[in-house]
Symmetry: T
Subunit: 67 residues, 12 copies
């Protein structure tokens, strides 16, 4: 049978940068899922406190190969 | 490590209202998932029988914090 | 020949709720069309008078089977 | 000069229904703005607590005529 | 409680056709999930080698009824 | 007066392929409408039974010249 | 019963301007439909001949009140 | 601090053309706001009376530099 | 081999009208490309100076047949 | 310097199937461009003659590595 | 009355990073508005000079609670 | 004749940040094209290896003035 990939959706967060929010979300997914292959950003949001960005929230679709 | 949220997608249904379809889908998710935090409506559809709305179908993305 | 469905587009209105605007539009379509099967909401708008919502306008695509 | 309308964007909330969240947001806008004419829903979200919908958040563009 | 459907997202692949990529992805999902009901195509992509299409990748949302 | 085209929307179905679902929907439209000129795919969905694709549903906008 | 509006979709054309393509499509619709109320532009395209714009094609959704 | 631009949203109207509707909306904004820099069209709609276009409504995002 | 069309993307400008911005961009493309066949508007923007529209910018996809 | 990919856009055509329209467009691009890597479908349209599909038109973005 | 949030739209800029453009825009908004709560990125653009990125422009919707 | 801008599409990559992926793609374009003026991000994706982000891929539309 041809390859099939499952797509899971996560929101990674960071107080530093968008790249760190992506890296953090991908690393968390990698703790329990094997064969992670690609990601796609679907949304960039964040939380504000006292008139300053408190953290960034980057939502991701992450694809991985099913056995 | 920074917080990570997983996003799951459901379709809740109701014969009564859009709000009830959302409540029903969220409550069903809450039976097996902990830490549900937010939802976002992605699609509103429904089924028609005998020329009348039979039920509403509201698709949701639901976010919850990963431990 | 395989089944074919026609899609018609309507805007239903209600002073009460979004669900009633949908029900009203579907019921109106059901007066002249047979075999209505499903609907999909494409737009939610409304009219305001004296600073209050006067009525809701919900646009729908409605699918029905062609004979 | 031809009529010009300004569009403002709000998020109304309700524990009851989507229609109430819209009505609440429009009424709040009507406290300070005159000539409100129409609204359009741009986003439907909400907050979840203890596995149940805590409130609905409906984002609206609201148009009103400039003098 | 009213019916609730879960939506899972997959990418099926095929060297032959878009329909085969869809069939392959759905069949893979059917190995572990019961009550699969509908699918919706969200993305059509593919891989190219030596200037020719090597395989098609069709991403799908697949809905199934929760017990 | 300049040419005007009307756009009608249909869903064609097929158990075989996406192309057949399109051909079937267009042929059905051609039974009652003259001057069909172009189509555009707006949605690709389908029905699943026993864990296999039962049929494909391809929604189309079809344009034809008004006399 | 509350008001219901039907939405029909047309493509108007003009060699002169986008506004004329819209006016032409609306006027054509007005020959056979009563109670036309609003339009919304969904697509702006055109045909090119000998490296020059030959005509503009503006697709419209047109709403009218059902009796 | 780096430059920041505010974006305001308006609907300009005209009985003549889309360009005039845009010009009219921008000129109205320019009566009270300084430093207007760019616009982007977000929606093209209009009102129909007696089967003819009565006026065009062009919605705009307008950007201007904050001091 | 079946026909293949290439799609190029341009932004045409005009101080007069949207139609002139489109005509200008298409004519510029026609200076170096042969077989231009159709265009599609993807974005309408513009520049503002002294509170008035200075020029319109219309982005186009333009299709032409490859030999 | 990190890898850079250029994206070109084409419309492939076929009287047979969507997959053949994609294969045809990719093969045409491969005649003059090296290092083609992936494609993404952006639009599915077609031409109708005598009430039957005459050919399918599939628009593609095709990515290839720059040297 | 239930909580209502107003949404304002800004473009923040930075020569350094996307995160800095967001932080800069939010901080500027925080100088005059109280109760800023969340942001959402709607557009990422930038200016190029001499073949290099001169600055990044990130457009944001920013939500804040109305009293 | 009025100014015309051509739009080219690229994917820049970086192991470091989204800003670096943009800078890299723009710099690569600047090696062969003159008069680069603006960019717009159209897609943010990336590749994952061993459960960690391997590199970021940022797709850009880049505009430059035609002579």
């Amino acid at each position: 049978m041809a390859d099939t990939y499952k797509i899971t959706e996560l929101t990674g967060t960071s107080t530093e940068s968008l790249a760190d929010a992506i890296r953090s979300g991908v690393a968390k997914a990698g703790e329990t899922l094997h064969g992670l292959d690609w990601f796609e950003v679907t949304d960039i949001r964040g939380h504000i406190e006292n008139g300053q960005v408190e953290h960034f929230q980057v939502s991701l679709k992450i694809g991985f190969k099913l056995d």
